[in-house]
């Protein structure tokens, strides 16, 4: 089996699994959890394109998520736009903003880039919080309409599940394609050595800004979907903590792996349910996971799974050989 064929097969199996899962979860609250996992998967993939492929850190990605949510929320509640149109506008505006700030910001490297994106995240949080007349301030923006297609309104968990996951699958497909293309290879080249990449003729400066904009655009779509499924948004959901949570998702799942992003998003969405007993100390567990992950499994959980898979595979092979 060629690599491409295998990639397609894995995606089809994943799609099938996503589509039939609700049949086993009718009316259960886990469907609601899966809706949030879908949104977080989109965000993790968006950040992974930047962090995992191009090797550029962003500690302010919650800001693009919030920007998408707020632009969409404000356009639909205050100017009665159609949610779909609002989603497209919010995605384009966030992507455009990322494109503009990307040029100066992405000139920075390492800690300086981390600081700049962190600052951007905090600035956006303050804007969400302080422009009370527009965003409703700290007590939030309510009454955001649900998305609908003609008479089909996405206002329950089952409908939302399909809405979010169909778009998530589209984002996954796009990202897998991107990562296997010439651009994906160029990004990985930048990741390994920017100087070498430029010597080989990769326009690193523009490419980094472009992937930053794509990443922001996907985050904004996720934000818009979040706003329309929750019908309420408040700044607390788009703060610094959430930016860190996103980075954790990507690293725990596996840098540079699309399915790893799904794994990381799923774990970080479900984990708080189990860590509730620890209250404020849950952050310690996240920190510990990050440390252990980078020390012992730098490729993330997905690489761990792959290792286990290979071990089992080779054992079966060995057995069949000895049997023969």
């Amino acid at each position: 089996m060629t690599k491409e064929k295998r990639e397609i097969l894995i995606f089809l199996i994943f799609t099938l699994a996503v589509l039939i899962t609700p049949l086993f979860l009718r009316g259960s609250y886990y469907l609601n959890v899966l809706v949030f996992i879908g949104i977080n998967t989109m965000l993790a993939i968006a950040l992974n394109l930047l962090l995992g492929y191009a090797g550029q850190i962003s500690l302010g990605h919650a800001a693009f998520f919030g920007l998408g949510a707020y632009i969409s929320g404000i356009l639909t509640t205050r100017f009665s736009f159609d949610p779909w149109l609002a989603m497209i506008i919010s995605a384009l505006m966030s992507g455009g903003l990322a494109f503009i700030i990307g040029f100066p910001i992405l000139k920075l490297k390492g800690h300086y880039l981390a600081m700049a994106t962190l600052g951007f995240g905090i600035i956006m949080f303050i804007i969400f919080n302080e422009t009370v007349a527009l965003t409703g301030g700290p007590s939030g923006l309510s009454g955001i309409p649900n998305i609908h297609i003609n008479s089909l309104v996405f206002d329950n968990d089952l409908n939302n599940y399909y809405l979010i996951w169909v778009i998530t699958l589209m984002v996954m497909l796009l990202s897998i394609n991107l990562s296997q293309s010439r651009i994906g290879r160029a990004l990985r080249a930048i990741h390994d050595s920017e100087v070498a990449a430029r010597v080989m003729g990769v326009n690193a400066r523009v490419l980094k800004v472009q992937i930053f904009a794509v990443s922001a655009l996907i985050s904004a779509v996720a934000g818009s979907l979040y706003a329309h499924t929750m019908t309420f948004i408040s700044p607390a959901s788009f703060g610094f903590n959430f930016s860190i949570e996103l980075v954790t998702m990507v690293i725990i799942g596996g840098l540079g792996s699309i399915y790893g992003s799904f794994l990381g998003a799923a774990i970080l969405t479900v984990l708080p349910e189990f860590l509730r007993v620890l209250q404020d100390f849950d952050i310690v567990v996240y920190g510990l996971m990050l440390i252990l992950m980078t020390m012992f499994m730098p490729g993330g959980l997905i690489s761990g799974l792959r290792l286990i898979g290979e071990a089992i595979g080779s054992r079966i092979k060995r057995k069949s050989v000895s049997n023969a």
């Binding site: 700290p138 939030g140 349910e273 209250q279 404020d280």
Partner: protein, 380 residues
């Protein structure tokens, strides 16, 4: 012989089991959403403690109409996303009959669409006016509106012939709602707001804003926020030697504030629920009994004095208890009976709900208190 003994054991077991199942009708499940951790934990923690204490007590006294209560607490961390996930779990997984909380206005607004759709009654412990205005069918609240606190302060100012004031509000949900009410009521009272300053929830120094206020013609300062910000303001006022009267909101009516503000707290006037001055109330006050009972009980369990915020959870539990006693324990019955609550004298005030009013309190819910000798004094 052995067979006979076996038979006896079995029949005894059978009887015990039957008796057990007869007593243990399934408990009535009450869900609770509190911001136990995170920046709003000063609300969520006493609320959770109080709710647990009350449910234990109700169960020890034989439950409600013979049925035990089961409290399921979920920590929202003051984050709307977690609140919505939590409320979905409570409704779909735990199948609760009613919900108390959330602690903050933001969390409450986030979960309202969910409870309205699932038709589960919810008694919020947050103060925001928009929670019950406009009235939502399934949503009630126990915390006093900011709209009731502001006139208390302005009344007092009028008596002192104060006409020009400076306001200093925190930039979070509580502060922005308070600021709105201050601006709104100032016009009605003919009070002029000369200086309108804000500060961030985590700021540790407000001398810049206060220096500006000192230079203005303001005759008094109103600070609107929850701990720890106002304590910093109080200390800064003292350090800067500002002698203007300082008014604060009900957001600081806990012992913690006096500890934090130290000497700066002396002389500050604020509207508060009656809980902090329970022992100074006249005997005819309808709330006195509930208040003293709550304060003592809380102290016994948790070694600190019960405050205003825990009181919101106390009222929520007692209101739901009353509703179940009068009607059934289905969500619809609880809602209908909640709406018929008349003159329940609790911690936050005397509640009377109606189809139009799901907030249930009048300006009578607040009294003005002054901080003297590190304690509370009722201003008459």
């Amino acid at each position: 012989m052995l067979k006979q003994m076996f038979r006896v054991v079995i029949s005894v077991l059978f009887v015990v089991l039957m008796a057990g199942s007869a007593v243990a009708a399934p408990p009535i499940k009450i869900g609770a959403l509190f911001a136990v951790s995170g920046p709003a934990s000063f609300l969520g923690e006493p609320e959770r403690n109080t709710a647990k204490m009350m449910v234990d007590e109700i169960n020890k006294a034989g439950g409600i109409k013979g049925r035990q209560l089961e409290l399921i607490v979920i920590d929202t961390q003051g984050d709307a996303t977690k609140a919505v996930q939590g409320v979905n779990k409570l409704i779909k997984d735990d199948k609760v009959a009613a919900i108390i909380g959330p602690s903050t206005t933001g969390d409450t607004m986030a979960v309202i669409p969910v409870v309205e759709k699932a038709e589960i009654p919810m008694v919020s412990c947050a103060a925001g006016v928009k929670i019950t205005d406009p009235t939502k069918k399934w949503v009630f609240k126990t915390a006093q509106n900011d709209a009731l606190a502001v006139p208390k302060i302005f009344d007092h100012m009028k008596k002192q012939k104060i006409n020009k004031i400076a306001i200093l509000t925190v930039s979070d949900g509580f502060g922005s709602s308070g600021r709105e009410q201050l601006v709104l009521h100032a016009k009605q009272f003919g009070i002029q707001i000369i200086s309108d300053e804000t500060y961030g929830p985590k700021d540790t120094d407000m001398t810049a804003q206060l220096t500006k206020i000192r230079g203005s013609e303001a005759q008094a300062i109103v600070c609107w926020g929850t701990n720890p910000g106002p304590a910093v303001v109080a200390r800064n006022v003292k350090q800067l030697g500002i002698t203007l009267p300082l008014y604060m909101s009900h957001g600081v009516s806990s012992k913690k504030f006096i500890e934090l503000a130290d000497d700066g707290a002396e002389g500050i006037i604020l509207p508060s629920g009656r809980v902090v001055v329970a022992d100074q109330l006249s005997k005819s006050d309808p709330q006195k009994k509930a208040l003293l009972n709550y304060v003592e009980n809380y102290k016994k369990h948790y070694n600190v004095e019960g405050d205003h915020f825990g009181g919101h959870a106390y009222d929520a539990i007692m209101l739901i208890k009353g509703a179940i006693e009068r009607g059934g324990d289905s969500p619809a019955a609880i809602r209908d009976q909640l709406e018929k609550t008349v003159k329940y004298a609790g911690i936050g005030g005397t509640f009377s709900y109606s189809a139009q009013d799901h907030a249930g309190l009048t300006s009578d819910a607040f009294v003005l208190v002054q901080i003297k000798n590190k304690g509370w004094t009722l201003l008459k």
